[in-house]
């Protein structure tokens, strides 16, 4: 996924060389926010350079009881396959409005890819494994980038404002924040700090411990 993105970005490089915006996204404690989806709309957007190409099937794998990648950005209408590289069963589901679904994934049995027709955020969980969380960001018309492990993202444009989604921004996963970009210095990463909430998935185990869970 990231490779694809990088390729896309690099291909745009000549034209957008002096039009890059480097962003670094962190939370208020200074921790980099990886997997942040940055999207913006350009007023003078070219007609989507990505003309309706034949959309490839994106892959959301299950490796070591985790979704891989954690955050997947796809195009509206794109398909996503769930290959299940683990040797255990997973029961992937989502109740998210864009695409509520569930698939029982068995080892070896290839499952049908799932098409995501609506744009929006789809939160994935595994019914068997409570700690498996993944996100599929179905983008619309906006230009969308994903921050890397260091929270860095390079835009090939100079938008005035960006809308950022991150799993930590809200409990409901629906919140996206719009940040105005001001005083951008070229070649210098622009740091965006976002307030985050603590999610309960990891914390539930501590509550459970009170009741004698080993």
């Amino acid at each position: 996924m990231i490779k694809l993105f990088s390729f896309v970005l690099l291909s745009m490089l000549p034209t957008a060389l002096f039009a890059d915006t480097m962003l670094v996204i962190k939370d208020t404690y200074g921790n980099p926010l990886a997997g942040a989806v940055v999207s913006y709309t350009l007023t003078n957007t070219l007609a989507p350079s990505e003309a309706p190409q034949k959309k490839r099937v994106a892959v959301m794998d299950q490796v070591d009881k985790q979704f891989k990648p954690r955050v997947l950005v796809i195009e509206q209408g794109q398909q996503v396959s769930f290959p299940n590289s683990d040797n255990i069963r997973h029961h992937v589901y989502s109740f998210s409005q864009p695409k509520p679904f569930e698939i029982k994934l068995y080892k070896g049995k290839n499952s049908q890819p799932v098409t995501f027709e609506k744009q929006g955020l789809v939160v994935l969980g595994c019914n068997i494994h409570d700690s498996m969380v993944g996100y599929i960001y179905v983008k619309g018309q906006q230009k969308t980038y994903l921050s890397d492990a260091d929270g860095k993202v390079t835009l090939h444009d100079k938008p005035e404002e960006v809308t950022i989604w991150h799993e930590s921004l809200s409990l409901s996963n629906s919140e996206r924040r719009t940040i105005k970009l001001t005083n951008i210095t070229p070649q210098t990463p622009y740091v965006i700090e976002l307030r985050t909430v603590t999610k309960s998935i990891n914390k539930k185990s501590s509550f459970k411990k009170r009741f004698g869970d080993k």
């Binding site: 589901y93 109740f95 969980g125 969380v133 996963n173 999610k199 309960s200 998935i201 539930k204 009741f211």
Partner: protein, 775 residues
């Protein structure tokens, strides 16, 4: 008297002891029980709190388990995610029924109640506890006690993750009476749960009835007191409070209440038992105190009685043998001993009162009593007075100890005989024999009594005299008896008869003797002039003149008339007043000598001296002083001493006589030939003349034997260079004979009788030239 006091003392003691012991026990029990009750209470409450917590914890666990299962259910998650309210409610109800939960609800992320199975929480309402929801978000879950619709619930809320939190599920158990009753059954304590918002009590349920339940707050941490509960009507409920939940607007407290009456009931029973025991013990002690006191007082009473009898002189009492107490027995023994001792002492005193201690004979007092008795009965009895001759002298010579022992020996020998004997004084004893003893018997007895007293150092040979009285003739009452006894004893001492029976003449003699002594003393006191000195001339045969006179005392008593010198001189010597007589004689003689000298009569006055006089050391000095005083030469006096008088202490007599000689006085031995002196000491006698006793001279003219004696004596005297004075010349023949034999001096009626001074002076002057011997 004794009984009451002792009884009271013992009673007081017992009562006091019991009372204080019981009191002590009761107080001790009281405090201990209080402590015990408190500890009990503490424990009960502590345990109850733990049980309570445990119960709540287990319920919580149950709630959690159920919630956990519920929130993990895919269908449930799906129904929430799809907002399928009907399904949600049905699932809630189903689960709720499984575990018997009273509250089941789902709450949205925005704190709204999405679904609920009860009226307590209504769908669409805002969940009231924001903080709790925050906890759920932050920690995955939360528990609390909460009041909804006037009921208290134990509540758990767990996050529903699909996969991130989409909602929370609430489960709750109502904390109702049933729960409290269950708790109460385990803990046996009344339980009250209350909830406070701020300081206001919003909710309370209790196992206690309502009025009590309200008051239970006051009983928190109250000090319990058995006394207070039973006597002051304090509430018997004691409570402890602990919090289940502490937040300011949702405080839940539990009050556990214990009814102390149960504990104190036991205590009360214990106290009642102790009191009962104490009371019974008191009763018992009263009774035993009574008997004990009796046991003590009875013997004491009898002792008191015994003592009073002893005071009256009865020593023979037997003490009660029924004695059980050691101390009383001791007292009894002591009493017995005392009685015996008193008796012994009294006996001793009586004995001493009646006996002479040295000799063990009776004493005067006793025998007087005996005599009185005999006189009253007019008994005929013989009384024998026994005297040790010269007892004073024995003491002086041999010492008092020896004298006493000797007397003791005599007394012991005396008591062998029948009758009763007493020591009157000194060496005087009185024996009253049972039967009259004859003189012969008495001689034997006397001899026996006179057995010598012999020790290693000395031998005493006592001489006794017996004086007999036959009563009642010789005396029928005490004064007379003892007077006559004295008389007969005196007589016996004076006479040669050692055993003398009283004769009335003795009394006369005695009386006369006494009178003489009295009158002599009076006469000597110079107030009266009853004495006079007569002078009998001594013719010097060689010189045919009277150069010497013998002074002879004459006494005309006013009372007795003329008393012969033989008589009163003897009496004077016996009475010990001879010295005074001699003093008078000497003084008179000196004065008369002066008169003679004044009248030109130059004669030497010869004064008679007795043994007493010679041995009287003061006499010589007296004589010299008188001579000096009256200015009379020593040659005016000479002295005659009776031969027999020298016998008693010859050596001292000689020594004294020598002193007279040294002074220049002439000494003559009077009544020579009648004494028992040895010729031996004629050599030593410091005398210048011997006077032949008149017995040899009176019949000189006719008696050849007398002539031989006188001749011999004259020759003997001349050998010793001594002059002879012959006394008792009655006729001329004798005178001529004596002259022929060269006797120096002659004295007698033939020459002249003794005549008073004035007469003598006249006679002397007229006989100056008288031819006594025809040449």
């Amino acid at each position: 008297m004794v009984l009451k006091t002792l009884n009271f003392q013992i009673f007081k003691l017992t009562l006091g002891l019991l009372f204080f012991t019981s009191l002590g026990i009761l107080i001790s029990v009281w405090t201990n029980t209080n402590q015990h009750a408190e500890k009990q209470l503490e424990r009960d409450l502590f345990i109850a709190e733990n049980v309570f917590q445990q119960l709540l914890n287990s319920q919580e666990q149950q709630l959690f388990n159920s919630a956990d299962i519920l929130t993990s259910d895919f269908g449930f998650k799906q129904s929430i995610a799809t907002k399928d309210n009907a399904t949600i409610v049905s699932v809630l109800e189903n689960h709720g029924q499984r575990i018997g939960a009273d509250l089941m609800a789902v709450i949205s992320l925005d704190n709204f109640i999405i679904a609920s199975t009860t009226q307590a929480l209504l769908a669409g309402d805002f969940f009231p506890d924001q903080n709790m929801m925050n906890d759920v978000v932050n920690n995955g879950g939360a528990t609390s006690l909460m009041v909804f619709n006037g009921k208290l619930y134990q509540v758990i809320i767990i996050a529903v993750n699909a996969p991130s939190m989409i909602a929370s599920t609430l489960l709750g158990f109502e904390m109702d009476q049933a729960l409290l009753t269950q708790l109460k059954n385990i803990t046996q304590l009344e339980t009250t749960i209350s909830q406070y918002v701020g300081n206001e009590k919003q909710f309370s349920i209790s196992t206690l009835q309502l009025p009590l339940a309200d008051g239970v707050d006051k009983g928190i941490d109250k000090d319990i007191s058995w006394f207070g509960i039973y006597f002051l009507n304090d509430s018997p409920l004691v409570s402890r409070q602990f919090s289940l939940q502490e937040s300011a607007d949702n405080k839940v407290t539990v009050i556990l209440t214990e009814d102390m009456s149960a504990i104190f009931n036991d205590f009360f029973e214990l106290q009642a038992n102790i009191s009962l025991v104490a009371f019974l013990a008191l009763l018992l002690s009263l009774i035993s105190a009574y008997f004990l006191a009796n046991k003590l007082s009875q013997p004491l009473k009898s002792f008191a009685l015994l003592a009073s009898k002893v005071a009256l002189g009865q020593y023979q009492q037997k003490l009660d043998s029924r004695i059980e107490l050691k101390e009383i027995k001791k007292l009894s023994d002591a009493f017995e001993t005392m009685q015996q001792n008193i008796q012994a002492r009294e006996g001793k005193i009586i004995y001493q009162a009646n006996h002479d201690l040295l000799t063990d004979l009776k004493n005067r007092r006793y025998i007087e009593q005996g005599l009185k008795q005999k006189f009253v009965k007019q008994e005929h009895f013989q009384a024998i007075g026994i005297s040790v001759l010269g007892f004073r002298d024995i003491n002086d010579v041999f010492g008092y100890q020896n004298g006493d022992q000797c007397l003791k020996k005599i007394a012991t020998a005396l008591t062998i005989n029948d009758g009763v004997s007493a020591r009157l004084s000194g060496g005087e004893m009185l024996w009253l024999p049972e039967s009259t003893k004859s003189i012969e018997e008495l001689i034997l007895i006397k001899k026996f009594l006179e057995a010598p007293y012999i020790t290693d150092e000395i031998t005493i040979k006592p001489k006794l005299v017996f004086g007999l009285l036959n009563c009642p003739d010789d005396g029928d009452e005490l004064a007379l008896f003892f007077k006559r006894l004295n008389i007969v004893m005196d007589e016996a001492k004076l006479s040669d008869d050692n055993i003398l029976t009283f004769k009335p003449s003795y009394e006369e003699k005695y009386t006369r003797r006494l009178t003489i002594v009295t009158e002599l003393k009076r006469a000597l006191s110079k107030e009266v002039n009853e004495f006079s000195l007569f002078y009998q001339p001594k013719l010097s045969l060689s010189e045919n003149s009277v150069t010497n006179v013998e002074a002879l005392i004459r006494w005309h008593s006013a009372v007795l008339g003329f008393v012969s010198p033989e008589e009163f001189i003897t009496v004077a010597e016996q009475a010990g007043i001879i010295n005074q007589v001699t003093d008078w004689v000497v003084e008179r003689a000196v004065i008369d000598a002066k008169t003679m000298l004044a009248n030109n009569v130059n004669v030497c006055i010869a004064i008679n001296l007795s043994a007493h006089d010679i041995l009287n050391e003061k006499l010589l000095a007296n004589i010299l002083a008188l001579l000096q005083e009256h200015n009379v030469p020593k040659t005016a006096l000479s002295f005659e001493i009776t031969e027999s008088d020298l016998v008693s202490d010859p050596d001292k007599a000689i020594a004294e006589m020598q002193k007279y000689r040294d002074q220049g006085f002439a000494l003559a031995i009077d009544d020579f030939g009648t004494g028992y002196s040895s010729l031996e000491y004629l050599k030593n006698l410091p005398v210048s003349a011997l006077k032949i006793d008149k017995s040899f001279v009176l019949q000189l003219a006719n008696e050849k034997s007398d002539q031989h004696i006188v001749q011999t004596v004259i020759k003997l005297a001349h050998q010793f260079k001594l002059s002879i004075i012959a006394e008792g010349i009655e006729d001329q023949t004798s005178l001529e004979l004596l002259q022929k034999w060269h006797c120096e001096y002659a004295q007698g009626y033939h020459i002249s009788r003794p005549i008073p001074l004035a007469d003598f002076i006249t006679w002397h002057q007229s006989h100056q030239k008288h031819e006594w011997i025809a040449l």
